[in-house]
Symmetry: D3
Subunit: 238 residues, 6 copies
């Protein structure tokens, strides 16, 4: 029995609010249960020096948590003067996941930065960031197309992410914080709309896991990604 009473294959309630803020070229608030992440896409018509003149663009991401997004207050990274290893690991993952479905040559010599800022954290923030950032990125590129700056959208496919894990011996989908802090295995799966695997990161927090368990977890993840891609599609139409 999960603390939230959900079925093992049940996602939390997903809410996607587009244009949550007004200045960014793409702006999405994604909620997975109590987890809330604000994802904005910022288009810059220039590139960092090491990327210039290569006939392609770049997509990158930054991630942060508001100090009181968490159950107890977390120290502000700007005040500490550095980003934690966890933060850097997550923002590198978000960037790689989005670039996997972006035709960087078709994007042209511009950079799009996805800022994923966690307003409230109840587990699964990196996955929510990827799923939400994709919508913001897709929307920002659609704007470039609408403005005549690009002939077609360089985002070739959906990308979404979900966590799965083994909680009290049972494989479950979309771990919330109480499950995440008490599970044996935690895995994040990033997949395209075509079910191609873009990233998979599994960690045995307690007991090592078997290949059989791993197969069950990916089955769960695939079903979850299906739902999330459907929600992405609906959000873009809305």
């Amino acid at each position: 029995m999960r603390p939230s009473q959900r079925l093992s294959s049940q996602l939390r309630t997903v809410r996607i609010t587009r244009n949550f803020t007004r200045y960014a070229e793409g702006s999405v608030l994604i909620e997975m249960g109590h987890t809330q992440v604000l994802c904005t896409a910022s288009v810059e018509e220039s590139l960092p020096g090491f990327l210039r003149g290569k006939g392609q663009g770049w997509v990158t991401a930054e991630y942060g948590m508001l100090p009181r997004s968490t159950h107890t207050r977390t120290a502000r990274e700007a005040a500490k003067g550095k980003q934690s290893g966890r933060t850097q690991e997550i923002q590198r993952l978000i960037g790689r996941s989005l670039r996997a479905v972006t035709d960087l040559k078709a994007l042209g010599e511009r950079q799009i930065t996805l800022d994923c800022d966690v307003l409230q954290a109840d587990g699964g923030t990196r996955c929510a960031s990827i799923t939400g950032a994709w919508i913001a990125l897709r929307a920002a590129c659609a704007q470039l197309v609408a403005q005549g700056k690009l002939p077609e959208n360089p985002i070739r496919d959906h990308v979404a992410a979900i966590s799965v894990g083994i909680y009290k011996g049972v494989p479950v989908l979309d771990l919330d914080y109480p499950e995440d802090s008490d599970c044996d295995t935690d895995m994040n799966v990033v997949m395209t709309g075509d079910k191609g695997i873009v990233e998979i990161q599994g960690t045995a927090e307690g007991e090592p896991f078997t290949r059989t368990q791993m197969g069950q977890l990916i089955d769960l993840a695939e079903a979850g990604i299906d739902e999330l891609v459907a929600r992405q599609k609906a959000a873009l139409v809305a």
Copy 2:
């Protein structure tokens, strides 16, 4: 004529949403027009070393802007590895303003940290932070009273803040970003519910200003503070 068509003495639309997030002891989203600041109060039952054993508590504040809260993207302070002079100046101001109405002895040996994070910036973020943070702080203390940890609320009076300035020669209340970037004089006024001045910071961006102009600006500010204090009262009752 103001870009927003407002009268010279007219505040922007004020919206106050309590419990915008769920984990903080106090959580308020304050909106002044398009400016949106999330203010959370976090109670810690301990004090930094230099304050221990003095028979009093402490109230402090931190301030940040999401990178794309602004019209064009601002670099993330956590990524740059330090807070700007402006950020530090603002968070020191917020802390001082709130301490001015707090009975630190009555608070007991605990610390309350107010995090003011700007989701969207259209001018006046430091003033909105003070006005909103006061509500979060008052609510957090009310919770301590309700839990029996304090006999009465140590917040002795309201405190609110508003900007005033001379825009195209005319004193106006509550500058938005287009006015702020094109005004001659910019002044932030922090007042208590009793109309006591807690902080006043005036800067001539272009021409120096006269004592007569200064009087007109404070008149405007006083009226604005009146409205804000009324809104704080309403928000606490709601």
Copy 3:
């Protein structure tokens, strides 16, 4: 009764020594009682990148305290690896105050940096910095005129600064350290030779202050600024 036996409207003894050091284009030691600040103006015939090509120059300031300028030793900021919020706040204030009386276009594409280093601190160091730095700046510009690099001095007016406050219930001028650490209200006023207000920063350390008190404080400040401007004139002639 003030600890120093001064009248409420009495400045401390002001001493201004020009050319205290020999390499800077302008170099002034200003003393307000025991407070001593060395102000140097350094002219650079280039601008930081973000200011180039705009057909104007720039005036900026940096501030520091020698570790044992204070009653007990203060940690060296260079050793701590960062400037405090207070330091940044002060150097921003000095820079803004000086720019308020500088015709940046007339200055041409060069930068003048004012370094204000406190040799001894007995209160009022930021005000002494502004008053002294103005002389160093004016002198450095005069040298540019003498060298034929500028047709006329781009410093359009005097600027000077003084602190006022409410000490034991009485408004007083030019607070020294014992008064500053024990006052209810502390206000720094920056004015031009024409009595235009350039900056005003008032803080209620204890009780909020009223508009009447504020008027009394500015009256005191105006008289103090008058004297300081006279001293600046005398120093430039000398």
Copy 4:
């Protein structure tokens, strides 16, 4: 055909040198082809503050590359003043992997730090670090047993790591640098002696990968881990 002429399931030549340096409680040079990592285990009879008094010990890791371990010189992290995101990600991975097979309670209130310093880098440095660090850790614990400080070795099982990937469409084992920089999918697998999966991290550098491909990659990895565990056993006996 692989650049190194190896079969797709063939490891590079593995060399393990124990006691490569003399002061550490465990010291191992591990070579996988041209990749060389020096792994040392340092035992400290104390714990960082946040871990004290919990009746358990801790195992942690740090990772670094010598500036000229790489084909062209990489800037020294100590000189840049911070560790890269990649470095932090790798050292977190090494620490988690080793803790997965350590009985922290049995270790007692002491900390063992594994330093993995890359002398030469030709791909697979994080995997070599894990495999080599395990030997250094096991040896350091054996010394604690020999000294009578522990009744038995708290390292419960082997742990080793290997990279696999899809190179020119073919799944291959143990990528060297030329393969790593030109492959479609790169996966690092960390397993115990019992074939339990401790960590799995797969990234599609180009095309997303399928579950079938993923199965083939893990088959390869399992065979590689078998060999590495055999080498670990031999090294401990020697």
Copy 5:
């Protein structure tokens, strides 16, 4: 012929002003020609953690240059966020030199910090710092004796420092900036009142130097130290 017309064995004019500032336990302005260094000694009745409980005190030093102490402006170390290698090297040298003549056990469990801040730099600032700091240190200890906190002064002997070098082929004493930037060999010699060598640091900027030249340089230095020690004695009596 030296640019300053001095004889090869002639010191610059030495001026020593005691009590240049008023709060430090020892405060000395030392001038060697145009070089001016303010040396203050600060007594703290506590020790850094790693020195506590060893039944001895500590003497340490910090060094800094005001940004416009130099011919052209040098960036402020506090603003850059770190001390240069040169600064650290110099302050380590000052500290070691002073500790060489201090009976740390006799000092008791307290720390004395010598701050050497260069107001004007015309070569030889590290030597002037040592010579001046010794006076400040001796005076601060004399105050501890006068206050009854110490039975006798724990500074056992004088220590002073002077630079020597080979300028245009000729060994010269006490290099000023024009000589220092154009010499072949530069040597700093730190000696006690008894002519014991405490530190010697010689660097061939151009041609390597011979043992014969080295002997000539140390002869010169010895004579210079003699004069400086005499000046230290005079200053303490004054």
Copy 6:
């Protein structure tokens, strides 16, 4: 009697391994007894901005210690986020020493960086670094000659370094760690193949030393340098 049973004028066993690693243009492992330093020379066909266009090249050095090169673990500088004063002092010394024998004009507009990384530290690491780095530098330049990029080797002479000191009252050559931590005087001498002195740094750890003692120490050092230069020659031929 020395702890190592060596004669007072006896070097430790010297071992020099060329091409210890394979990517650097020059790579040397130098061992002096248990002290082991890996010295690599990296050629870059460009210069830092401040050196460009001056018709000359540059030679610089960086130094580091692996955390467990020492008897007890030393914190990693990359993790602490800064290099210690000692590290900076040493790498500046290595760079100066090598430049003293390099014809920078003949080197052309390129930079060679010497990385000296200590794998094991038993005293004398800075001297071993200089002696070993010279070989790596000479070899890297020889490669440039062989590639036709330079007409002749711009390294004009040998440079080597050795420590000497007064241990239990007796002058001794090549101090190891037990001697170094218990000696009265410690001196590092850097000399060319022609016996020219390039750097001399002597420090009295306990009693000041006399000129007579200094002469004895340099005699010892000269003999040691003779042997080291012979070893450098042999290593280049091998």
